[in-house]
């Protein structure tokens, strides 16, 4: 079997006495879309922050294609090939849409500069459905378009692994369908992705596997159908009475 793109081995994060992530262990294989799901406060975003280097791991190991990245600073992790979006969209307000995407292409995993970076950014804007909007200021964009820009920015460095932190959150039903098919098209390109998501439709139609977290611990792992019918998972989401 091939080395997984990403492996977590007993990854733990403590904030003082609180254990936010407790001995998480999972693998993400190449070309796989993995959903990281669970109720609010279960430690999904903390796990994403540990993988991307935004937070330091308290214990355990994170491996990218078998080599440890546990102690690397966030920019090094990005350069090794892990790119992320943020739960609340973060764009660069003083720059144009195109420059926002170029920002992702210059310093990351696969580096481009000058004309090459611009053409690459333009092709990515077209890829996410923003063709011809490169000259706009980010303040002029609709909500879903800001999400598209952020997606184009993280794609710009040709990452080995994409971390999408609630990328579909806050979209209206029409936008949601657009968003889901956009991410589906990334999966069809063979991207390896970890999604943190609450939208069950998206999880069912996008994810190859799911890891379910509750109170910082992994409580289930498998295909979306398997985990969503797991009594432990239903209990974690809905409480004991509904099992």
């Amino acid at each position: 079997m091939n080395t997984p793109v990403l492996s977590l081995r007993n990854v733990t994060k403590r904030f003082g006495g609180l254990v936010a992530v407790n001995a998480m262990t999972f693998d993400v294989a190449e070309h796989q879309v993995m959903g990281l799901i669970g109720p609010n406060g279960s430690g999904k975003s903390t796990t994403m922050n540990l993988i991307s280097g935004a937070l330091k791991v308290s214990g355990g190991e994170v491996l990218l294609r078998g080599s440890p990245i546990t102690t690397l600073p966030a920019e090094q992790i990005n350069r090794r090939g892990i790119a992320r979006t943020f739960q609340l969209v973060r764009l660069l307000p003083s720059m144009s849409v195109l420059e926002n995407v170029v920002a992702g292409a210059v310093f990351g995993h696969r580096r481009r500069w000058g004309h090459e970076a611009r053409t690459h950014a333009e092709s990515l804007l077209a890829r996410v459905g923003l063709e011809g909007k490169g000259h706009l200021r980010v303040g002029q964009l609709t909500y879903i378009d800001t999400k598209r820009v952020e997606l184009a920015r993280v794609l710009a460095s040709d990452p080995k692994l994409l971390l999408l932190d609630e990328w579909l959150a806050g979209l209206n039903p029409t936008e949601l369908q657009i968003g889901i098919s956009l991410i589906k098209s990334l999966r069809d390109d063979g991207r390896t992705i970890i999604l943190v998501e609450h939208v069950m439709d998206a999880i069912r139609s996008l994810c190859d596997t799911c890891v379910v977290m509750a109170s910082g611990t992994k409580i289930a792992e498998g295909t979306p159908q398997q985990v969503l019918s797991d009594p432990d998972v239903i209990r974690a989401y809905l409480g004991d009475d509904d099992v």
Binding site: E75, N78, L91, A103, V106, H109
Partner: protein, 312 residues
């Protein structure tokens, strides 16, 4: 390089050439004003190279400037003048790197206070060392004329503009803009933010030290309270903000009117200059938060036809 770039470079070189003719006018008064203007142009433009994109307000200019004047004060009898300017450049850059490593993890007001404190610390240390030597200051007696100083500072200012133009087109310049917009995005886009900030902070440090080294002969006698006057740091910030720190030529737009205004205020109201400086600072921050340049952009945006897509 595009045609516009070449045209701009030629125009800048021409403007520099015209400015270089000022000492030939024979007017001591205008030459003296000219020295002040090119001095503040070099200081404010280099200050804005770092503080413009990152929004880190540095009040350490006086520290670097003072170090430069002392390099000349201590070395002019034994070393050729040009080498003193070189030594000042290196010392300024090294000091800036040390300050940067210690402080650039601080943000906002903490960084401002630290840089102001640093300038005071350096001043107190030099004062202490100076007093132990038994003298209050140093005589800098050279045959360097005011016109020489003017030309050297003009060359330095030209070099600052060239450096700023090159940095603006470089990855480092782009990295700094990203950091200024959102440091978290910068980090997760693969930018080593600490290194980028320290590297660029060395530029104003080095330029301020060189400016000090070149200007020392003008003062004839230097002592810590003059060489490290904190007022200088504030003047540089005010001028850069007045012009607009977001563009390379922004500070220049602030330096010229401010220097002329300052000359007339300090000669008419010598007792109230600091007070008036404070008022000017408040007025600029409240009324012109992005300086003259920002005001121009605003007017241009209003005048421009609305983008149909933007309204969609």
């Amino acid at each position: 390089m595009t045609g516009t770039d070449i045209r701009n470079l030629c125009l800048s070189a021409l403007a520099l050439g015209i400015c270089a003719l000022l000492p030939l006018s024979g007017s001591g008064y205008w030459l003296s004003i000219g020295v002040t203007i090119v001095m503040f142009t070099a200081l404010a433009t280099s200050w804005a190279l770092f503080s413009g994109p990152t929004h880190y307000i540095s009040l350490a200019t006086a520290a670097f400037f003072g170090v430069g004047t002392y390099v000349t004060g201590l070395g002019f009898e034994t070393l050729p003048f040009w080498s003193l300017v070189g030594i000042a450049a290196v010392l300024g850059a090294v000091l800036a790197a040390l300050v940067g490593l210690a402080t650039l993890r601080l943000s906002g007001v903490y960084f401002v206070i630290f840089t102001l404190g640093l300038a005071e610390l350096v001043r107190q240390v030099i004062t202490w060392v100076q007093n132990r030597s038994g003298q209050k200051g140093l005589y800098v007696l050279t045959d360097i004329s005011e016109a020489d100083i003017y030309w050297m500072l003009l060359a330095l200012a030209g070099a600052v503009f060239l450096a700023g133009w090159l940095i603006g087109r470089s990855r480092l310049g782009f990295a700094l803009r990203i950091i200024g917009d959102d440091e978290t995005v910068a980090v997760h886009s693969g930018i080593n933010t600490a290194l980028s900030k320290v590297l660029l902070f060395m530029v104003p440090g080095s330029v301020a030290a060189m400016t000090g080294a070149i200007l020392a002969p003008r003062y004839v006698y230097i002592e810590p309270s003059l060489a490290f006057a904190p007022m200088l740091s504030f003047q540089v910030v005010i001028m850069a903000l007045l012009g607009g720190a977001g563009r390379l030529w922004g500070p220049l737009v602030g330096v010229i009117p401010f220097t002329l205004l300052w000359e007339s205020i300090s000669s008419s109201f010598p007792q109230q200059t600091t007070l008036l400086l404070g008022v000017a600072f408040l007025v600029i921050v409240y009324l012109l938060p992005r300086g003259f340049v920002g005001l121009l952009d605003q007017i241009r945006q209003r005048a421009a036809p609305k983008d149909p897509e933007a309204q969609a």
